[in-house]
Symmetry: none
Subunit: 209 residues, 4 copies
Amino acid sequence: MPYKQLKKQQMLSAARRLFTEYGFEKTTMQKIADEAGVGVATVFRYFPKKELLIIEVVKEVIEEMVPRFEAISESTQSGYDKMDAILDAYINYISSANRDAIILLESFEYYIAYNPMEEPLTEEIYQTYTKVERIIDQAIQDGIQDGSISLSSTEQMNATTILNLFGTAIKKHAFNSLLSNVIVPIPTKEQLLQLKSMLLLYLKNASRH
Amino acid sequence: MPYKQLKKQQMLSAARRLFTEYGFEKTTMQKIADEAGVGVATVFRYFPKKELLIIEVVKEVIEEMVPRFEAISESTQSGYDKMDAILDAYINYISSANRDAIILLESFEYYIAYNPMEEPLTEEIYQTYTKVERIIDQAIQDGIQDGSISLSSTEQMNATTILNLFGTAIKKHAFNSLLSNVIVPIPTKEQLLQLKSMLLLYLKNASRH
Amino acid sequence: MPYKQLKKQQMLSAARRLFTEYGFEKTTMQKIADEAGVGVATVFRYFPKKELLIIEVVKEVIEEMVPRFEAISESTQSGYDKMDAILDAYINYISSANRDAIILLESFEYYIAYNPMEEPLTEEIYQTYTKVERIIDQAIQDGIQDGSISLSSTEQMNATTILNLFGTAIKKHAFNSLLSNVIVPIPTKEQLLQLKSMLLLYLKNASRH
Amino acid sequence: MPYKQLKKQQMLSAARRLFTEYGFEKTTMQKIADEAGVGVATVFRYFPKKELLIIEVVKEVIEEMVPRFEAISESTQSGYDKMDAILDAYINYISSANRDAIILLESFEYYIAYNPMEEPLTEEIYQTYTKVERIIDQAIQDGIQDGSISLSSTEQMNATTILNLFGTAIKKHAFNSLLSNVIVPIPTKEQLLQLKSMLLLYLKNASRH
DNA sequence: AATGAATGAGGGTTCATTCAT
DNA sequence: AATGAATGAACCCTCATTCAT
C-alpha cells in the first residue's frame, strides 16, 4: 500500500512541479512521466485522463490550504481575532514557499474557464472553495455575537464582499509574481499588513461611524 | 489603403471575438480566418505569428480602455473627484458590454505567464498597463495638492496599493463571471459602489484618524 | 478542381489498396499518407476521421459495382435473361481483378460489426446495398410478368432467399480466396456456372413440379 | 490439477464471451482477466500470446461443433438421411444459443485474414474445418452406395460445392444477425427449411433429369 | 503459482506555419 | 496580394506484454 501510494505521490509531485512552472497546457503527460521517473503508461494507470491528474493536483493543493483556515475557525478566539488570523494566513501564504500553491489555484481558474469539465470532477473543488468563504462569514458572525465585531446586517454583506475582493486580489498578485517580466506592481508584505489593519479597523468600527 | 486597413480590422475583430469566447489557445488561426472571411494565409500575411495577432488584439483592447482614464486625469476636477470618477469607470466597466475587454485582458495575463514573449512585443502593453497606475497616482497627488485628499506620504503608498488591489480584484471577478459554473460569488454592483464609498472616505479622512 | 479531385482520388486509391491488403484496422493513416505520397495532415484534411475515409472507400467500391447490375436491370431482356446476366455478373466478379472490391466489402461488413458508426454515415451504403436486392426482386417480378419465370408467390420468396444466400456465399468465398493459407475449398468458376444453371432451371420450372 | 484446469476454463469462457460480444481486436487481455476474475499476468501464464488464447477459444468452439456432425456421420442412417440431418444441424445452429459459436467462427475467419499466424497454430483448426467437409462428402458417398442418393460423379462435385456454399452462407447470415443495424435481409428459418427441401430433392433426383 | 505494476511502441488527431498558385 | 493546400511535429491515450513481489 505505501509503495503504491508513494508512486502516486511521486507522480502528483512531478505534475505539480511542472504544472506550476509551465502551466497545465504546456505540461505534457510524457514530461510528467519523465520527471516522475516512470513510463507514460504508468501515469495513465493512475490518472486515466490528464484532466483527472490536474484535478487531483488541484485538490491536493486546496486540501493543504483549507485546514489552516479551519484551524482558525475552530479555535476559541474572538471573531475579531479569527479574522485577524485569517487575513494573516492569506498574507503569509503569498510570501511563503506555498506561494506555488496559489499560483496553481489561480492557474486552474483560468484553465477551467476554457476547458470545462464534467461537474462531478470539479464538484469537490468547488465545495472546498466555498468552504473558505463560509469560514470567513462564520468568523464575522462569531465576532458580531461575541461583540468583537460590530456591523449592521448591510455592512456585514459589504464586509464579506470586501474580504472576498481582498482574497481574490491577493491570489492574483501571487500569481502575477510568477511572471518574471511583469510590470504590474506587486504589493509589499508591509503594505498588505497595513491594509489588513484597515480592514480590521473597519470590522471593529464600521457601525460606529 | 482603407481596404487593407479594413481587412486587418476585420481579422482583429474576428480574433477578438473568438479569443474572448474560447481563449487564446483554443482559438485556431483557421477559425479566425473563417470568422473574418479571409484565407488563413492572409491572416499570416498580416500577423506572421499567432503571438503577434494576440498582442495586437490586446493592444486594441487596452487602447480603448486607457483614454477613459486619461480623460478623467486631464479633466479639471479636484483630485478627489477624479478618483471618484476613476473608481466609477472601473466599476462600470465590468457591468457594461466592455466586460469582454476585461476578460480578454485577464486572459492575456494568464497567457503570457506560460507563453513568455520577446520583450519588444509586450513592452508597449506593459507601458500602457502602468499608465493607469500613474494616472491613479497622479489623481491622488492632485487631490493632496488641491486639498481634496488628505494623506500622509505613507498613507499615499497604501492608497495606491489598495486601489491596485481593488482594480485587480474587479478584473478577476469580471473574468470569473465568464465561468458559468463557477461558485466564487460575484459581487453585485451595489456592493462595489459601497466599497467605492469606503475607499473615497479613506482618501478624504485617512490622516485625520 | 481536377487537381483537388486528383489528390483526393490518390489518397482514396492508396487507402483502398492498403485496406484491401492489410485490412482497415491494420492500415494506419500514416501508411496511407506515405502510400499516397502526402503528409498525414493532408489525409486528415480530406477525411477528418479515419472512419470517413473507410466509408468513402467502401462507397467507391459499391458505386463501381451497382451500375453493372442496374444496367442489367434496365435492359430490355426478359426477366429470366436478366437473372442469367445478374448471376453471371456475380460469378465474373470473383474471378476478375475486381475481386478486390468484394474483399473490401466483405471486410467492411466485419468491421462495422464491432465498430458501429453513426447512422448517417452508413445510411448511403446500406441504401446501395439493398439496391442490388431490389434489382434481383425486380428481375424476378419482370420474369413472372413476361412469362419467362414461373414461380408461385411462396416460391418467389424462396427464390429471393436462395439468390441472397448465393450472393452471400459468393462474396464470402471471394474473401476467403484472399487467405493464402486457407483450406476452405474455393469453388471453381465451372462449379459456380453449374450452380447458376441449377438456379435458372429452378426459376423456370419451380412451379411446374 | 482440476483447479488448474478450472482456472484455464474460466479464462477461456471469459474470453469467449467477450470475443463474441466485442470481437477479437476490441477485447483486451485485461478485460478478459477481469471477467475471469484473475490477474492479467495469469492469463499470460496460460496463454503466452493473445493469439494463443484466440486459437484455443476457436478450437473449443469447433470442437463442440464437429461431434454433432460426426455423430450423424457415424450413425446407421442412409446417406440421404444423413444429409438431411446434417442440413438440419446447420440450420438449427443459427437459431440456437450456439449461434454465438458461429459468430465466433466467422469472426475468426476475418481475423486471420489480416493477422496471419504461424502454421502450426492454425493447423489443427483447419484440420477440423475440413473434417466437416469430408463428412458431407462421405454422407453423399454413402448415399450413392446405398442408393438413397443418385448423382453422377460430376454432379457429386457440384453437390459438394452447393453444400459448401450453403454452409458458408448460413454462417455468414448468422454473423450478420449480430449487427443490429444491418439491412441485409436475414432469411427466416422457414425459408431455410424450404431451401433444405430443395437441396435434398436435388440429391435424390439430380441424375434423373 | 499468481498477480498487480510498469511500460514502450504505436495510433489517431490537431494546428501553427509554409508553399504554390 | 490573396489564398487554399500541404505538412511535420507534437499530443493524448491504449494495449500486449514483461517485471517484481
